[in-house]
C-alpha cells in the first residue's frame, strides 16, 4: 500500500513539476505547482511526519492562491490562451539542470549512507514542539524575527504610501486619506 502510494506521489510530484514549465496557461502552471507541493506533502506524511505534511499542504495552498492573484495582476491573460514562452537560454539551462541531476543521482547511488540510528518518537509532532521550544529555541526565534522583518520589508517595498500620505504632514488628520475606506473607520 505505502509503496504504491510512494510511486504515485513521487510520480505526481515530478510530472507536475515538469508541467510547471511546459504548460502555456499561467493559471494551470500555478495549479500544477500546487499539485506538486501537495504530492510532496503526501510524501512527507508517508514518512510519518503528520504535522509537517499537513502544514506544507496548508501553507502551499495559500501560497499558490496568492501567487495566482499576483499572476493576474502582472500578466492578465484571459484563460491563458496566448502561447506563453518567455524563456532565455533554454539549452544551457537544460544542460545545467540535467547535469545537476546526474551528479546528484550518482552521489545518491554511490555514497554509502549511514545506517539508521534510533527510532522515530511515538509522537513526532510533540518531539518537534519540544525541540523548538527547548533546544532549538534559538532557531525558532531567528525564524520569528526573520518573518517579522519580512513583513516590514515587504510592506515597505510594495507600497508607495506612507503615514504622511495618509494622515498629512503633521500626522493629525482625523481620518486617513485612503482610496478605499476600511471596516473599522479609522
Amino acid at each position: 500500500m505505502s509503496v504504491v502510494l510512494f510511486w504515485a506521489l513521487a510520480g505526481a510530484a515530478v510530472v507536475l513539476g515538469v508541467l510547471v514549465f511546459r504548460l502555456d496557461s499561467m493559471a494551470q502552471v500555478t495549479f500544477a505547482l500546487l499539485g506538486s507541493f501537495l504530492a510532496v506533502a503526501g510524501l512527507v506524511l508517508l514518512l510519518g511526519l503528520g504535522y509537517l505534511g499537513a502544514v506544507i499542504a496548508l501553507m502551499m495552498v495559500i501560497e499558490m492562491v496568492i501567487m495566482a492573484v499576483f499572476m493576474i495582476m502582472f500578466m492578465m491573460n484571459p484563460a491563458g490562451l496566448m502561447p506563453m514562452t518567455m524563456t532565455h537560454n533554454r539549452r544551457g539551462s537544460l544542460v545545467i539542470s540535467v547535469g545537476a541531476f546526474v551528479v546528484l543521482a550518482a552521489g545518491i547511488l554511490l555514497v554509502d549512507w549511514p545506517a539508521r540510528d534510533g527510532v522515530p518518537p511515538p509522537d513526532p509532532t510533540f518531539a518537534l514542539g519540544e525541540a523548538l521550544m527547548g533546544g532549538q529555541m534559538l532557531t525558532m526565534m531567528t525564524l520569528g524575527v526573520g518573518l517579522f522583518a519580512t513583513i516590514v520589508a515587504t510592506v515597505v517595498l510594495s507600497t508607495d504610501r506612507g503615514r504622511y500620505d495618509r494622515l498629512g504632514d503633521e500626522l493629525d488628520a482625523p481620518v486617513a486619506d485612503d482610496p478605499m475606506g476600511g471596516g473599522v473607520g479609522r
Binding site: M73, L81, G183, G185
Partner: protein, 344 residues
C-alpha cells in the same frame, strides 16, 4: 421506467427562471415576480443557472440580439417565453414547464444544440450581453485583451473594458454601464439605455408611488445581499399591487422600514460610500422616508430620478460591489431616460 424522463419531470416541477426585463415591460416583470413567489419558483442569477428565459416586455432590435445571445447560453433542458401582457403570465409559465418536462422535445433540442457556441453569437454577446468585455487591442482568439493604465495605488496595471448589464439580478431594465475596470475598481464609466421605450408607453407606477418605492427598496436590499428583507419588501409590494392597502399592510411596511433603518450591519456596510455628491446611506434613508410617506398619505410625486450622466459620474472610483449598490440606490428610471450619455 425511463430515468431521464423521471429526472426531467422532477426538475421541471420547480424550474429556475431567468427574468430579462425590457424597458417598458415593468408591469409584466411585476406580474412574473409575483407569480414566481406564489409558486415558489426561484429566480436564476445567470443564464447558466436558468431553465426558463422570460423576456418581460417587447424587446427592440438591440435587445432582441441580446435575448438571442442569452438564450444561446441557457443549458438544455430549457424553455423560453416572451410576455407582453401581465394576464398571460400564469398560462405561459405552465406552458414553459410543460416544455421542460417534454422528454422527446428536450432530447431533440439537446442533440441539436451540443457543441461549442458559435463564434458569431458570442461576439454579439460580448458586445451587449453582459459578462465579457472588449478591449482596445482587439480580441485574441475571440477574447478581449487588457491594456495598461494608471491606477490609484501608483501601479500601472491591466485594465479591461466590460459592459455591465442589462442582464444582472436587480438591475434597472435595459441599462448598460460600460466600465473600464482595473482589478475591480472602476476607472471610467459610461451609461446608456438599450432600446428605451417608445414614446407613449403608459407609466405603470402612476398612482402607485408606494409600490414603486418598495420595488426600488427590494432591489437595493437584494443587491446588498439581505435576502430576508428584500423578499419581504417584494411581498409587500405585490400585496399592494394586488389589492387595496389596509391598515395591517401599512403596519408591516412600517415594521420593515424600521428594521432596515435600525440594522447596524447595513449601516456599517454603507458608511462612507460616496455616490456622486451624496452617499449611499443618505440615498437609502431618502428611499425609506419616501416609502413611509407614500404608504401614509395620498400619492406624492416621486423624487426625480438621476440622469445617466450623473449616474456614470458617481460610479468612477467605486469597486464592483459598490457600483452595484450605487446603481441600486440611485435607481435611474430607464423607462423615461434619454438614450446615451457618455462620461469618462
Amino acid at each position: 421506467m425511463d430515468l431521464t424522463r423521471l429526472l426531467l419531470r422532477a426538475g421541471a416541477a420547480r424550474p429556475h427562471v431567468l427574468l430579462l426585463p425590457v424597458p417598458g415591460g415593468t408591469s409584466v416583470r411585476l406580474a412574473v415576480e409575483a407569480e414566481l413567489a406564489r409558486r415558489g419558483w426561484p429566480l436564476a442569477q445567470s443564464p447558466a443557472d436558468a431553465d426558463v428565459l422570460v423576456v418581460a416586455g417587447r424587446p427592440g432590435p438591440r435587445l432582441s440580439e441580446i435575448v438571442e445571445a442569452v438564450w444561446h447560453r441557457l443549458p438544455a433542458p430549457r424553455a423560453r417565453i416572451e410576455l407582453t401582457d401581465p394576464a398571460d403570465v400564469g398560462l405561459q409559465l405552465d406552458a414553459a414547464a410543460a416544455v421542460l418536462a417534454n422528454t422527446a422535445r428536450q432530447r431533440a433540442r439537446q442533440h441539436h444544440d451540443v457543441g461549442p457556441v458559435s463564434h458569431h453569437a458570442h461576439e454579439e454577446h460580448g458586445e451587449h450581453g453582459g459578462h465579457e468585455g472588449h478591449g482596445d487591442m482587439g480580441p485574441v482568439a475571440g477574447l478581449p485583451m487588457a491594456d495598461l493604465g494608471e491606477d490609484r495605488d501608483g501601479l500601472t496595471l491591466d485594465r479591461v473594458h466590460v459592459p455591465l448589464g442589462p442582464l444582472l439580478p436587480d438591475w434597472p431594465p435595459g441599462l448598460v454601464v460600460r466600465v473600464t475596470l482595473q482589478g475591480d475598481v472602476v476607472q471610467e464609466a459610461e451609461a446608456e439605455v438599450v432600446d428605451g421605450p417608445a414614446a407613449g408607453e403608459v407609466d405603470v407606477w402612476a398612482g402607485r408611488a408606494a409600490a414603486r418605492e418598495l420595488d426600488a427598496l427590494a432591489r437595493f436590499l437584494g443587491v446588498a445581499g439581505w435576502d430576508d428583507a428584500a423578499d419581504r419588501a417584494r411581498r409587500l409590494r405585490d400585496d399592494l399591487l394586488s389589492g387595496a392597502p389596509d391598515e395591517r399592510h401599512a403596519t408591516q411596511v412600517r415594521t420593515l422600514v424600521r428594521r432596515v433603518r435600525r440594522s447596524r450591519a447595513l449601516r456599517w456596510l454603507l458608511r462612507g460610500l460616496a455616490a456622486g455628491d451624496t452617499d449611499v446611506g443618505a440615498l437609502l434613508e431618502r428611499r425609506l422616508a419616501a416609502v413611509e410617506r407614500a404608504v401614509r398619505g395620498p400619492d406624492t410625486p416621486p423624487s426625480p430620478p438621476p440622469d445617466l450622466a450623473g449616474l456614470a459620474r458617481a460610479l468612477v472610483g467605486a469597486d464592483l460591489a459598490t457600483l452595484r449598490l450605487i446603481v441600486a440606490a440611485l435607481d435611474p428610471d430607464t423607462e423615461i431616460a434619454p438614450a446615451r450619455v457618455p462620461h469618462g
